[in-house]
């Protein structure tokens, strides 16, 4: 029994052990199965993810090129093919320099940070690219780097910005055109006024000169009789008759009138030619064609010239006074831009005065232009007694195309141009204070040191 019992126990134990082993095996193989399942799934995931990355890479509008450390092209996405016109086979393994006329290490890339400089990686830079057909184009480029199997990988992302550049240039061109148009508009308007300003003195200079011609013919008659008198005196044969005819000719030609009138005619004629000369000079000073760099300008003189050329614009509606600080030093300035600003503000002031005037009123408005030095600034203010600018639109007056004038009465560019000329080009300031029904004051400040 003992032996049997022993055997029995052993059998029992072995059976148990085997059961346990079987259970373990089952457990292990299940684990293995699950692990395998995970692995399959992972592989599928990975494949899917790679596929996704690839399609993102292919689908993106930006050209993406990867390089090895030596600058050889590893990959070249579809957008890059489209941008450069090369196929993958044509460029893979080639140096990246092939795609840039100046080389990636060349001039165009000077500003691009060193590739080690991870801090700045991804920054956008503008560069010139070269297509397969040799044509060059503007692009935006950014560089970054990554790690691939212990190797450093450089990722170049490029975008063709030819269209954007073109649009930008067109916009710039449009802006210049528009500015030119506004200038031409004001010059056209000025020209009609200047013609009138010149025609007026020309008319009376002509009339006076014609009068002097006639008057001299009259005086000539008197002179010839004086000659006779002189001869008679020399010959001591002066007669009563001769004296009478001197008197009668003097009466006929109205000598007293001529004597008082001729000097006036001459002085008005001189005044007329002075006026023409002054206008012509002011026109020259006003227009200052093509000065692209700032020069030191006598602001007071520039203002005077602008007042002279625009006289016809304001003289019917306003008295224009100036209070100029004659000690004001010269200011670095683009003269024609500055003059244009003053002109635009004067013209606006006149329009405001007209707007503010009741129809039957014949009273003129007032414009006051003052200059003075304030610290390092030259301050110019232009005050009018016009209708004023309503609070609601005060913030818009410097916006391009904003105008309260009717169609055909202005491009809405006047004050926008003034703003850009003063603020952008001279680093100055332009401000407006206005009270409806009372008037408006524009204050311009220009830095004395350019």
């Amino acid at each position: 029994m003992d032996e049997l019992e022993l055997l029995e126990n052993r059998l029992q134990r072995e059976r148990l052990a085997r059961k346990q082993a079987e259970a373990l095996l089952e457990e292990k193989s299940e684990t293995l199965y699950l692990l395998n399942q995970d692995l399959v799934k992972l592989a599928a995931d990975l494949a899917e993810r790679e596929e996704a990355s690839r399609s993102i890479l292919e689908a993106t509008g930006d050209g993406i090129i990867t390089l090895d450390e030596s600058g050889r092209i590893d990959s070249f996405n579809r957008a890059a093919k489209g941008i450069f016109g090369y196929s993958q086979e044509q460029v893979v393994g080639q140096n990246i320099d092939k795609l840039f006329p100046m080389g990636i290490t060349g001039e165009a890339f000077k500003n691009i940070p060193h590739m080690q400089d991870m801090e700045r990686s991804g920054e956008l830079h503008e560069a010139t690219g070269r297509r397969a057909d040799g044509s060059e184009f503007f692009m935006e480029i950014s560089l970054s780097q990554g790690q691939l199997l212990q190797r450093r990988m450089i990722i170049v992302s490029v975008r063709d910005i030819t269209q954007r550049k073109k649009a930008e240039e067109e916009r710039k061109y449009m802006e210049i055109q528009l500015r030119q148009a506004q200038k031409l508009e004001s010059i056209g308007q000025l020209a009609a006024g200047i013609a009138h300003e010149i025609n007026t003195p020309i008319q009376f200079v002509g009339d006076n000169t014609r009068f002097l011609l006639d008057a001299f013919a009259d005086i000539e008659r008197l002179l010839s009789i004086y000659d006779q008198v002189l001869e008679a005196v020399r010959a001591n044969e002066i007669t009563e008759g001769l004296v009478t005819s001197v008197n009668s000719i003097a009466n006929e030609i109205d000598l007293d009138y001529l004597r008082s009138e001729i000097p006036q005619a001459i002085s008005q004629t001189l005044d007329g030619t002075d006026r023409v000369a002054r206008i012509v000079r002011a026109m020259k000073e006003f227009s200052h064609p093509g000065d692209e760099a700032k020069s030191l300008i006598d602001i007071n003189k520039a203002i005077q010239s602008t007042i002279t050329v625009s006289r016809n614009e304001w003289k019917y509606d306003a008295e224009l006074e100036t209070d100029l600080d004659l000690t004001l030093p010269t200011v670095p300035c683009l003269a024609s831009e500055f003059n244009q600003v003053i002109l635009n503000i004067i013209v606006n002031a006149v329009h405001a005065i007209r707007d503010g005037k009741s129809d039957d009123s014949t009273a003129k408005g007032a414009i006051l232009i003052t200059t003075k030095q304030e610290g390092d600034w030259a301050k110019i203010s232009i005050r009018d007694s016009g209708s004023g600018i309503p609070e609601a639109i005060r913030s818009k007056i410097f916006d391009p195309f904003f105008t309260t004038k009717g169609v055909g009465k202005g491009t809405g560019q006047g004050l926008a141009i003034a703003y850009s000329a003063i603020v952008d080009k001279h680093a100055g300031t332009i401000d407006v204070q206005s009270e409806v029904g009372v008037g408006t004051t524009f204050t311009i400040k220009l830095p004395m040191q350019g």
């Binding site: 013609a195 025609n199 007026t200 008319q203 200079v205 009068f211 006639d214 006036q264 019917y316 014949t362």
Partner: protein, 404 residues
């Protein structure tokens, strides 16, 4: 009595210059000077003034306001503009009320001549009320159809100036106004334009459009205004145009210079404008005049003289003279019924208009009157042109045949 002229300008230099310049006229002219529109009106209210010469742009009351006021209160005054402005807007503003425009700088001889001429025209009309009436006329009545056609042409896309010119030439009233404007010194032409086609192309579509739409520049005839059914504006215009065309043919057959030929056409086209003024302003007298002419078997122009104190020819001539038309056109219109009053013996537009008018009139009246009853044979004989009459008559026949 001296002629009184008032000069208005806000620039004292101009007034001083004019005063001195025109001093040699001091025995014929009495000149006053005003430095503003208000001052001018004050002077006109106090003294009687024959002519005003004003600047356009002045502070306060400007030239066109002054002219409007003068045309309203003192229509008999001759109204001239002397301005340094040459923009279209200014011209159009005053086109209704200014008789003539002179631009600064203006040649002194031109100024003197234009003034003397306008003032000497007054002898054409003796009656004060007629002077006032005619110089107050700013526009002449047109045929509504023609006016509308001009408007339509101007509004259409791709309007052609030639088409507009052709349409204008079918209306003597619009022709006169457009030529007045184009010949004004503002347009700076050294020569006188005498046909509407040239005028249209010189003015351009924009100015024509503005003109056509400006109140008071063209006006339309209102047939209701006149009670007599005897008057038809269309008939008067047809006659005017026929006389113009025949006058042109006659001049061409005399191998006249092209300038003279076109003046003959123009003078013929405008010769009866006086009838429009009379019918428009004095419809009752016009009806009375027609009755008198019929009843007593006298010619209409004599009846006009009887009733109004002036003939339609004199009335039109005065207006055209004020508007700056050339002397030969004014004379042709003034004397088209009485060419013997002219001092010229050679072939002039007067000859052409007189003959063409008589031939057209006789043809219209058919056999009722003796052919060529209106012809002044002694004038033609004195001019040595009487023997040409037969061939001119044939021109009319052939013109009528070709119209058929």
């Amino acid at each position: 009595m001296k002629t009184r002229i008032l000069f208005v300008d806000d620039e004292p230099g101009i007034l001083d210059g004019l005063r001195r310049l025109l001093r040699s006229y001091r025995n014929e002219w009495e000149m006053s000077f005003a430095s503003s529109g208000q001052e001018a009106l004050a002077i006109v209210a106090e003294q009687s003034i024959d002519a005003v010469v004003t600047d356009m742009r002045m502070p306060g009351m400007d030239g066109s306001q002054l002219l409007n006021e003068l045309a309203r209160c003192h229509p008999e005054i001759v109204r001239f503009v002397l301005s340094g402005y040459s923009d279209d807007e200014m011209i159009i503003k005053s086109v209704g009320t200014a008789h003539q425009y002179l631009s600064k700088p203006c040649d002194s001889d031109l100024l003197k001549a234009a003034l003397s001429r306008a003032l000497s025209l007054r002898k054409l009309l003796h009656e004060e009320r007629l002077l006032a009436l005619v110089s107050g006329v700013s526009s002449l009545p047109s045929l509504p159809e023609v006016y509308l056609e001009i408007l339509e042409t101007l509004r259409s896309d791709g309007a052609s100036l030639r088409k507009v010119g052709e349409t204008i030439s079918r209306d003597p009233a619009i022709t006169a106004k457009v030529l007045q404007l184009v010949n004004s010194a503002f347009f700076g032409l050294g020569r006188k334009i005498s046909n509407p086609a040239d005028a249209a192309s010189l003015l351009g579509l924009d100015v024509l459009k503005t003109l056509a739409l400006s109140a008071g520049v063209f006006s339309q005839f209102d047939q209701n205004k006149i009670s007599t059914s005897d008057f038809s504006l269309a008939q008067v215009f047809d006659h005017c145009i026929a006389v113009g065309l025949l006058g042109k043919r006659i001049a061409a057959s005399e191998e006249a210079e092209s300038n003279l030929v076109s003046e003959c056409l123009l003078a013929g086209t405008l010769h009866d404008l006086g009838k429009l003024i009379i019918v428009n302003e004095y419809p009752e007298e016009y009806a009375r005049m027609r009755l008198m002419a019929k009843g007593e078997g006298m010619s209409e122009y004599l009846a006009e003289k009887e009733i109004l104190g002036a003939t339609h020819a004199e009335v039109a001539a005065y207006l055209l003279g004020l508007w700056g038309f050339t002397d030969s056109v004014v004379e042709a219109v003034a004397y088209h019924h009485q060419p013997g009053l002219s001092s010229y013996a050679e072939f002039t537009p007067l000859t052409a208009v007189h003959v063409a008018n008589a031939l057209e009139g006789a043809a219209q009246a058919n056999e009722r009157t003796a052919p060529c009853a209106g012809l002044d044979m002694s004038y033609l004989e004195a001019s040595g042109l009487a023997d040409r009459l037969e061939s001119w008559g044939r021109l009319r026949e052939s013109a009528r045949d070709s119209r058929k």
